[in-house]
Amino acid sequence: MFTLQNSIILGLILFSIGAYGVLTRRNLLVVLMSLEIMFNAVNLIVLAFNYFRFYQQGKELGHYFVLLVIAVAAAEAAVGLAILVTIYRNRRNVDSDELTEMKG
């Protein structure tokens, strides 16, 4: 059951759910949450590859890499949430359909 193939399929399902959320949801908070899901899907796949292909040979580089991604994602989420709070304070909503000032 716990094989490389199944891990990748799980990662892909998670990634697709996240992508679907990013593409369809208008609430930016939910969009951010979906992004986190996509991050973690990728992390999962990286971990799975590391575990099944290199861990037996004593190589742990994938783990360190995932830890780095989690740290950066945390920082990015903090910035994203801070922006979101500011947008909310200014406009009283966080609907992405309303936030189209950059329209050309």
Binding site: V22, L23, T24, V31, S96, L99, T100, K103, G104
Partner: protein
């Protein structure tokens, strides 16, 4: 000092340079200098230049050789090498003395005339700049340097005609002079281009050398009409600068400038540049019979035509202006029959007596508080004795009615040379061309005598038409002005004595002096033609005296006869034609000015506003249109952007997969 005089050729660069220095000083800091110093700088620079010119002339007379100095290369580009070189040969030696000598007298006169004018420093700066340009024109040893001076004098003429630029008419007169001169200069420049094209050099001595060294090629150029085209183009330049038909129209208007300017630039020096240029390039002009004949016709027609205008003008300066045009026509006639030294002789005597006449007129104008209308003067001989005598002498010289006075000698020499001219091409061949044009010259001389004494009568002799109180306030302006008048009056009498022909008991040293330039090969001395010269002289002089006396009687009292004559009938018609200058200005206005205005309007409205602006605006519009299309991509919606990223990634991945699979 002796060393300096002996080696004067090493210092001839100072002749044009000193007035330039005067220009720089007065032009830059003259505004803050006291008037006395401005006068001093203006006059001393040209006076020093005159002293050097006189020394150079003396050296040329002494050695018989030209003073030549090359100061190195100006620029070279391809086959064109232009050097900076000055040359004082017999011809330029005469010219630089006229320019700096008469120039100095007029500078000195200006101290009195321009007294109280706030722009006095500018005036002296411009006058000095003019002298610099004119001296470069006559001293330059190549055509480009000559052209530099040619343009320089044109610029100064423009600046000085419009010196009182706050008056719009005066400023317009300046512009008119400049634009009309541009037309002539255009022809002149094309002529210079062609000279370089065919002779490969712009150096005047170089061109002459080419003509001597390549007789075969030159023969082809003559037969091909190239020489005729070149000389005609150069002559177009001369008609502009020397105010000949059809480009003479600027000179009468140029009288808007201060009177010393009219005397220096528009009578004595600048307007003779065309005559000088023909003299300088006489070896080229002599090669084209067609050109010479055209010059003869233009000169003769101009002389007669402007003479008929001068007899009705009311403005004292306009009379003199038309007289100048007429006398320039004489000079061109002399040049065109190959009597170059005679043309230059008349140029010199004319410089003396016309400067004298203009300065006397200036003295009258100042005395009458800037009144120039002769019909409002009269009786001034009692109030302005010095001016009266000076102007009388000038008029005698201009009309050539007194034997041995300068104008008499030069004018009669011209008439004699024209009479003896044998030539004629095309329709004129077989006709006694010389005698016909002598007739034109003679009639011109009669007109000259008439308007000269008409001016004297109206201004000085007739009963005054001024108000009593005004009349009694008229007095000789300043000492400086009278002194200059006296000096010029003396010059107007004796100035011609260097050129007394053999038939009058002289030996014409002027002619033999210049023959080194104009005719180095032939022996000196003139051919005798029996009694003909005496008869010609007798005819023109006695008729001139009769006309002068008639004019003096007609206008000397109260000019009631001419007024009655011009009231009705043919007299009225002729008077109106002449007084309105045959409506040539109006004709030019309709033919050229209006046409050009209309053409320009058309170009503005259609070519500029429609086509050019349309193209420029169209380019902008096109960019906007394309941008409009691309604009729709930028929705501003984050989700759409994310979708496009995902789709892009998917497309790339698909492509990679297909590529990998195919391998």
């Amino acid at each position: 000092m002796i060393h300096f005089i002996d080696n004067i050729e090493n210092y001839i660069y100072l002749i044009p340079l000193l007035p330039l220095i005067g220009f720089v000083i007065n032009g830059l800091i003259g505004k803050n200098l006291p008037r006395g110093i401005v006068y001093f700088i203006g006059c001393i620079s040209i006076f020093a230049s005159f002293v050097l010119s006189a020394l150079a002339l003396w050296k040329v007379i002494d050695t018989g050789n030209a003073l030549e100095i090359a100061y190195g290369s100006w620029f070279h580009s391809g086959g064109l090498n232009v050097s900076i070189g000055l040359k004082v040969d017999q011809l330029s030696a005469v010219m630089i003395n006229i320019v700096s000598g008469v120039g100095f007298l007029i500078h000195f006169y200006s101290i009195g005339y321009m007294k109280g004018d706030e722009g006095i420093y500018k005036f002296f700066a411009y006058l000095n700049l003019f002298c610099f340009a004119m001296l470069v024109l006559v001293m330059g040893d190549n055509l480009l340097l000559l052209f530099l001076g040619w343009e320089g004098v044109g610029l100064c003429s423009y600046l000085l005609i419009g010196f009182w630029y706050k008056n719009k008419d005066y400023a317009d007169a300046g512009k008119k002079a400049f634009i009309v001169n541009r037309i002539g200069d255009f022809g002149f420049l094309i002529g210079i281009f062609l000279i370089f094209q065919y002779f490969g050099t712009l150096n005047i001595a170089g061109i002459q050398e080419f003509l001597v060294k390549h007789p075969g090629e030159v023969k082809l150029l003559i037969e091909g009409g190239v020489i005729t085209i070149i000389t005609l183009l150069l002559f177009v330049g001369a008609t502009g600068k020397s105010a000949q038909i059809p480009l003479y129209v600027w000179l009468p208007d140029a009288m808007a400038g201060p009177t010393p300017v009219s005397a220096l630039i528009h009578a004595a020096t600048m307007v003779t540049a065309g005559v000088y240029m023909i003299g300088r390039l006489h070896f080229l002009f002599s090669l084209s019979e067609v050109t010479m004949l055209i010059i003869l016709i233009v000169g003769a027609v101009t002389a007669l035509y402007s003479g008929t205008i001068a007899i009705t003008q009311k403005d004292i300066k306009k009379v003199l202006a038309y007289s100048t045009i007429s006398q320039l026509g004489y000079m061109f006639m002399a040049m065109s029959v190959g009597a170059f030294s005679v043309g230059i002789f008349h140029l010199m005597t004319h410089a003396f007596f016309k400067a004298l006449l203009f300065l006397s007129a200036g003295s009258v104008i100042i005395a009458c508080h800037h009144e120039q209308d002769m019909t409002k003067m009269g009786g001034l001989s009692k109030r302005l004795p010095v001016t009266h005598i000076a102007m009388f002498i000038g008029m005698l010289a201009l009309s050539g009615t007194v034997p041995y006075i300068s104008g008499f000698l030069s004018k009669d020499l011209i008439l004699e040379k024209v009479f003896l001219f044998e030539g004629g091409l095309g329709v004129l061949s077989g006709l006694p061309v010389g005698k016909i044009f002598w007739g034109v010259g003679l009639i011109t001389a009669l007109f000259t005598a008439f308007y000269s004494f008409r001016l004297m009568g109206m201004t000085f002799w007739a009963k005054t038409r001024m108000k009593d109180e005004d009349y009694h306030h008229v007095k000789e302006p300043s000492k400086a002005m009278s002194t200059v008048l006296i000096l010029l009056a003396v010059l107007s009498i004796v100035g011609g004595w260097v050129g007394i022909p053999e038939i009058l008991g002289g030996n014409n040293p002027f002619h033999s002096f210049l023959s080194k330039v104009f005719d180095p090969t032939s022996a000196h001395g003139e051919v005798h033609h029996g009694n003909t010269p005496y008869i010609l002289m007798g005819v023109s002089t006695s008729l001139g005296i009769i006309l002068a006396i008639i004019a003096a009687f007609m206008y000397g009292k109260n000019w009631s006869f001419p007024e009655r004559f011009t009231q009705k009938g043919i007299g009225k018609l002729l008077h109106r034609l002449s007084y309105n200058k045959y409506y040539i200005d109006e004709l030019y206005e309709v033919l050229f000015v209006k046409t050009i205005m209309k053409g320009s309007r058309l170009l503005w409205k259609w070519v500029d506003a429609f086509i050019i602006d349309g193209l420029v605006n169209g380019t902008g519009r096109l960019a906007q249109l394309i941008a409009k299309l691309g604009q729709n991509v930028q929705t501003g919606n984050v989700n759409t952007y994310a979708l496009s990223i995902v789709l892009g990634v998917m497309a790339l991945l698909t492509w990679f997969m297909i590529a990998t699979y195919n391998n």
